[in-house]
Amino acid sequence: GPKVLQIPSHQIIDMGQMVTLNCDPVSNHLYFYWYKQILGQQMEFLVNFYNGKVMEKSKLFKDQFSVERPDGSYFTLKIQPTALEDSAVYFCASSLEHNSDYTFGSGTRLLVI
């Protein structure tokens, strides 16, 4: 079936640096999401994005986080600057509409050192 691709699969970065996580959603999907999973914990909602705008963000979505999808290219999550507590697996997802089937990517494992 259709897939969500996440690039890179792993990233190691020095604390304080900027990182951009890339997501290539399913081509006809309109809604995009980021989730964060710290090792051993459950996956938690960060943000969703539709029609070029953030619709809802959780308290985990700090001011250092931003999302965009310029001109239908990658849906990105940027963290600037990074902190140690940002180390986690970040999952991207997309859907055609709400309450439909959400397609998830394999995740980007981010390690901030």
Binding site: Y33, M43, H98, S106
Partner: protein
């Protein structure tokens, strides 16, 4: 605030047995409920969902789940289990009120099916 509980971190059984993975939820309104499966190194794959209507929903890979409003549960079932069902399973709830596609996940249950 809504929450999802998967009380069993690990479930182990033999191939051919019946499996049931437990999920309970807390939510003030009628929930949308999902089950996803994650194989090692892969993404979450959709199994099934309950939106409304028939309380027993059938999904992919031979799985089904029953929505029980009386005890706020949405347990996943399959019979017989196969060794290839070994994976991590996540139950999730969607906030129907806000209509934003925000999923609340449980911690997941690791299923091991011995051949």
């Amino acid at each position: 605030a809504q929450s999802v509980d998967q009380p069993d971190a690990h479930v182990t059984l033999s191939e051919g047995a019946s499996l049931e993975l437990r999920c309970s939820y807390s939510y003030s309104a009628a929930p949308y409920l999902f089950w996803y499966v994650q194989y090692p190194g892969q993404s979450l794959q959709f199994l099934l969902k309950y939106i409304t209507g028939d309380t027993v929903v059938k999904g992919t890979k031979g799985f089904e789940a029953e929505f029980r409003k009386s005890n706020s549960s949405f347990n996943l079932k399959k019979s017989p289990a196969h060794w290839s069902d070994s994976a991590k399973y996540f139950c999730a709830l969607e906030n129907t009120g806000a209509n934003t596609g925000k999923l609340t996940f449980g911690h997941g249950t690791i299923l091991r099916v011995h051949p």
